[in-house]
Amino acid sequence: MSEKDMSENESTRTAGSAATSGTDESVALSIRDLNLTIDDHHILKDVSLDVPSGKVMGLAGESGSGKTMTGMTVLGLQPEGAEVTGEIDYHGENLLALNDRQMASYRGHHIAMVFQDPTASLHPMIRIGVQLTDHMRHHLGLSKQEARERAIELLKLVQVPDPEGTLKRYPHQFSGGQLQRIAIAVAIACKPDLIIADEPTTALDVTVQAGILQLLRHLCDTTGLTIILITHDLGVMSALADEIAVMRGGQIVERGSRYDVIRNPQHPYTKALIDSLPKQMMERRDQAAQAGQTAQAESGETEQPSEPQEGGQHD
């Protein structure tokens, strides 16, 4: 993260909706005045958000604040019967104007998703190998063999032990942490430039959460991937996000760099959120936030993630 970006973010930070104007190169996704209504319930209200390219954009808020709905709407997966207005600009294309078939060519290909609970988001009766390759074959037109080779590479990249054996197994044969790694492999399979990660660590054991976060950070830093991280957990947020937008009641109430939002919240809601964290935890977060900040200032890349407690756990 360069100093210039930092100052830019600083300047655009307001209490209300915040968006830089125009579609410049560094913006991966630009949401403008997104409104979503289901049966007269106004779920998203004028959400505007620029997601900087190659960064982790955190979307924080309590459940029902609309953060998940925002993520799903980007993928065109909002509930049936939902009325959506506004604009979602992805490299000059308004995603909201696309029909479902056109949208499907973006989904999984250019924009992918990681879900909360990998035991639920992977089909329990289909082998990992199939679930990891079917969209590659569809989007990239790979042959069975090519897709298989790429799948093995991907599993190595997300550090799942025994990639060949993994392809033949079913989801129930893995732990939650390993499954989330596989789910991330599924998400990055077609080399998307944007991933929406919806509470990617919430369903996982605390001890494996760090590994998943490090993996996401690593992917973001090494491949230029942009991540929209949706979470209610400010701890996760402060460990991973470069920028944070806080949502409440379907609106974005605060937006800014991680450090500023957590250290110096402007909106009363954000303050309350941060104050509700236990004191000790908060101090730890602060330190982590600061450490992260300095580490990044020193070098653009974090080191290769390694999790001794998770490696080789299932065999």
């Binding site: 049936e80 609970d117 988001s121 992977l122 329990p124 732990s175 939650g176 789910a183 369903a203």
Partner: protein, 367 residues
């Protein structure tokens, strides 16, 4: 496996991980072991079924000796005592049960008091007739029920929801024998569209016995006219049974598919941008297959019992009609033979469903 590796929500599935990944080290392949356990359970159930028929046979106040000998001979105590010894009736009940089992293993289900044929022989004629009807019904019901159920779930509309709800409730509420009566009255008596009773017109003779199912046998014998006649006779009874089952299956299938559609893995498949056809058939249908399969298994059992009532209206000489005649004349050996046969078929169908379960869902095998 350390406790830290399992996420809270996945404790149950996490536990099975080491078991399955070490499958090559501990004994047989999990599916073989699973199938073996299911088989043993089925055998025990089958033994339970024979126990029930045996106990019921012994509950009956009528003296089997009198039934065999007739009133006049039964008046002579010496003949009766001799007969009792011959039939093993002087032995204690557990021994009698073992003798009963032994006879069953030799395919001996006793002699029908009504037809004076061995029950096994009667059943070998009646069972294929019922099977023919049950299979026709099952195939058509499943095609319509699963197909429309899937369609209705994917194109969820309030109208179709109401229609399906009503259809299924009517289907399970209207007595099948009455529905059979109505169809008989309209389509045969009033309109004359289809033959009313029997499996063939009197002018036709049954095809050579291969499967016992006339339509198949006629086709095997290369006699299309005979097959057509057999089909025309099957139309009305099959129609009644289809009307009776299809609404229920349709509704069940629809709700199963809707349940699956709300699963994360379907959303995940959509998020992967897969074509909708692939999502429907590879992801949705596979997820809904287990409950639908269970329902089809139950349906088959339901058809076997439903046929009792429908067959007696259409004089379809199947298991139901045979049981009905036997029950009317209190022909005990024949009734128990039917009970035993149907019970064993029921168990077999459930066993097959269990096996398919194991094949479709990898999680079932390790449980």
């Amino acid at each position: 496996m350390s406790a830290t590796t399992t996420a809270p929500g996945t404790a149950a599935t996490g536990k099975s991980a080491p078991e399955s990944s070490h499958q090559s080290f501990f004994g047989a392949h999990p599916f073989v072991r699973y199938a073996g356990i299911r088989f043993i359970v089925s055998i025990f159930l089958a033994i339970g079924v024979t126990l029930v028929t045996f106990i019921l046979t012994n509950l009956v106040p009528t003296d089997p000796v009198t039934a065999v000998l007739g009133e006049s001979a039964a008046a002579d105590p010496a003949i009766v005592a001799n007969m009792r010894r011959q039939m093993g009736l002087d032995k204690p009940l557990p021994v009698q049960y073992l003798m009963y089992l032994q006879r069953l293993l030799h395919g001996d289900m006793g002699t029908s008091a009504q037809t004076h044929n061995p029950v096994a022989q009667d059943l070998s004629q009646a069972l294929p007739a019922t099977m023919e009807l049950a299979l026709i019904t099952l195939v058509i019901s499943v095609i319509i029920g699963v197909g429309l159920g899937l369609y209705a779930a994917l194109h969820n509309r309030r109208f179709s929801d109401q229609l399906i709800r009503l259809l299924s409730l009517l289907g399970i509420s209207v007595p099948s024998f009455w529905l059979a009566m109505l169809c008989f009255y309209f389509f045969f008596y009033k309109l004359g569209l289809f033959p009313g009773t029997g499996r063939l017109d009197p002018t036709f003779t049954a095809p050579p016995h291969v499967t016992g199912m006339y339509i198949t046998d006629a086709l095997l014998a290369g006699d299309p006219a005979l097959a057509a006649n057999a089909v025309s006779h099957a139309v009305l009874p099959a129609l009644v049974m289809i009307l009776w089952t299809v609404g229920f299956l349709l509704r069940f299938c629809r709700s199963s598919v809707l349940e699956v559609l709300s699963q994360d893995y379907v959303t995940a498949a959509r998020a992967k941008g897969l074509p909708s056809g692939r999502i429907t058939f590879a992801y949705v249908l596979r997820g809904a297959l287990l409950p639908i399969l269970t329902m089809i298994g139950m349906l088959f059992g339901g058809l076997m019992s439903g046929s009792v009532l429908v067959e007696s209206v259409f004089s379809w000489h199947g298991l139901g009609q045979y049981a009905f005649q036997a029950a009317k004349s209190l022909d005990l050996q024949a009734i128990m033979g039917v009970g035993l046969t149907v019970g064993v078929i029921y168990i077999t169908v459930n066993f097959v469903v269990d096996l398919l379960y194991g094949l479709i869902d990898p999680r079932v095998r390790v449980q």
